[in-house]
Amino acid sequence: MATRREFLTVTASTLAGAALTPRTAMGAPKSMTVVRESSFIKPFDDYFAKTLAGEYEKSTGIKINYEAVSVGGMLTRLTTIAETKAGPEIAMTALNWPHLFDKSLVDVSDIAGEIGKQLGGWHENVLEVLVVNKKWKALPWGNIGQLEVYRTDWFKEVGVNKFPETWEDLLAAGRLLKKKGHPFGFELGHGFGDNHGWLYPLFWSYGGREVDRDGKTVVIDSSETAKAVDFCRKFYQETMFEDVLGWTDVNNNKAFFGEQISCTNNASSILEVGLRQFPDIAKVTDHAMNPSGPKGRFHVLNAVSHAVLTHAPDQAAAKAFLRWLYDDKQMSRWLASANAYYAPFLHGYDNHPMWNVEPRYLPYKECLKTSRPHTWPGPQGQAASESVAKYVLVDMFAKACRGDSTKDVVATAATQLKQIYKAK
């Protein structure tokens, strides 16, 4: 570079050259991208990315690209896509996100109607998380249930042959087990699935409610809530150990395989991994429904679903793909590849052969009837998501367990909820 001018000229022309590369012509979609969160089940992800995508391309010529987001990152990714109005055309949604992203999702009520008719109708309780203003904003895929996972051998040792029916019975069993060096380990930290998986059901089964149906009044300050909190404190102190207060979703899996705990609340991942890597432990592992409280038995609803983003250049093509995916011919196979990890919301699949493979997964189907979304019966929407993101309910129980008074923790939660819901 003899002179500065030469240097600048070279740089400028290189940049100009790079900017002027010819662009591909815009037209009918040659490809679409589907973004999903990685499941724990590789065959399931692969079945979509390789098998199903390949079949669709062969029959329509449209290439389906699969983008996988790491576990826990789907909400962030979806937020980015919705904000920037760019990226994948079809996205996996979960929980009440169809409400959060209502304005960015295409109405898919027509597909929902067709599939419902073809396959025996949808379970009622999933509607409230994805029907916004009478329009379906996502198509339900399956529920990731959270159930009691326990060591049958250790329970038998203390004389409990059938999993306890009520929370009080479970407490009694836990006392005995803790004395024998096999405490319980229920998550009380800032994870996502395994804390809400038992805390909401516990709360609801004692009659606790956060807000009323229209979200205008905060009703958490009640005797039912106080009973639930008091029970939780007793349950923690008599059956668990301090670590659980800081547990996130992976810790109870580790503790279970490390043979440190005899019972926890989890999705089917423990048995799933156990069957593959810890066969001795898997032999003595089983699932049970959440115990019932004075006001009923509950489970949390975590409905995975699929939605079309409004920024998609060809919404009709994206909807057509979903219609094809959700057709019994495809959906049935894809569900089966997941080994009953997802419990489908269609009555037509109540007796799907995938349930016959491993009887211990059957409770995940049973619990659908009593599953409710986070913050139920309050309205699903912005405030619900904020309340969950701020761990209002989880921290209420966690603080009580570490020793704070029931009155204080409930008052704190009530104040937070009033601010979040802008309610009385």
Partner: protein, 309 residues
């Protein structure tokens, strides 16, 4: 015939070409051209997000929805939220304690590796590793080290007979804050160490010899020779370190995600949860901007102090 219109034109063209070349050859113009990419980068990736952040914090802005101006309502709402004050407390404690530990530890490390010994360069390179390795990676390693069930720290403490119980490093609120401080100190100590080492190396050993001959003790030599020389370096390093510790995100997010019960939530993690998990960009931006007054004051104070020196 010798000087026709064409040759006049040619001459003036040549003149213009020469002046264009000399324009670019001028130092001031060339330096601006060289600076331009850097300045543009800063404007695009630092200034713009910052200003946009302030803009969002004054709105009721939810994900994928247009925002409506609400003035300082978000800030007022945060000021009335007990969790926000918990987060503030956590961040200040985290920053102050970790910075103090890194400063003293880094200085100690610098003093140690400033000496002559075989393998000196290898040692210096190895000691820099915690700072170089990506945070995500080292934090996961620390997760296993602190793991409630399998913590090697607990195992070691129990087996050397020092304690009888297991410490709940990530379950106990106080210990959890201690844990993230430990990891932050571990990660940032080499940064202090290497930078202070550079400062120490500017001190000629003759100064120490002369002082020793004059009868100065070890501490006197330290306070009156070492400290004055490295004070400017120390202040600058501390300023950078405080800024990045105060706004730390990766470490607390991965290790505890703000738990147990908000005991380790810092400004950055809390702002992220509000913004990305609840879709409340306005509130999230307000929480993030809450870092500004404290940091701004600190930078101003340190810069003035430095100028005084």
């Amino acid at each position: 015939m010798a000087v026709g219109p064409a040759s006049v034109a040619r001459a003036s063209l040549a003149g213009r070409a020469t002046s264009r070349r000399s324009l670019l050859e001028r130092e001031s113009v060339f330096s601006w051209v060289m600076l331009a990419p850097g300045v543009l980068f800063l404007l695009a990736f630092v200034a713009y997000p910052f200003v946009y952040g302030i803009f969002i914090s004054l709105q009721d802005r939810r994900v994928a929805s247009p925002g409506s101006f609400v003035g300082l309502a978000n800030f007022v709402a945060q000021a009335q939220d007990a969790v926000f004050w918990q987060v503030t407390r956590n961040t200040f404690i985290y920053t102050i304690v970790a910075t103090f530990l890194k400063m003293t530890g880094g200085l100690a490390m610098a003093l140690v590796i400033n000496q002559q010994f075989r393998g000196k360069n290898l040692a210096r390179a190895l000691l820099l590793l915690p700072f170089i390795v990506p945070t995500v990676l080292s934090t996961v390693a620390w997760m296993w080290i602190f793991d409630p069930t399998f913590s090697v720290i607990n195992w070691t403490l129990r087996h050397t007979g020092l304690v009888t119980e297991n410490f709940s490093w990530l379950g106990n609120a106080t210990l959890a804050l201690v844990s993230i401080i430990i990891v932050n100190t571990w990660r940032g100590l080499p940064f202090y160490g290497i930078t202070l080492l550079a400062g120490l190396q500017t001190i000629s050993p003759d100064l120490y010899e002369a002082a020793a001959i004059d009868g100065a003790s070890v501490t006197q030599r330290f306070w009156h020779i070492t400290m004055p020389v490295i004070k400017p370096v120390l202040i600058i390093v501390t300023m950078f370190s405080v800024i990045f510790t105060f706004s730390d995100f990766q470490l607390p997010y991965i290790l505890t995600h703000g738990g147990p019960a908000n005991a380790t939530h810092l400004f950055a993690t809390y702002a992220f949860d509000i913004g990305m998990s609840a879709g409340q960009f306005g509130m999230g931006a307000a929480v993030a901007l809450a870092m500004l007054p404290a940091l701004g004051l600190l930078i101003v104070a340190l810069t003035l102090y430095l100028r005084r020196e």
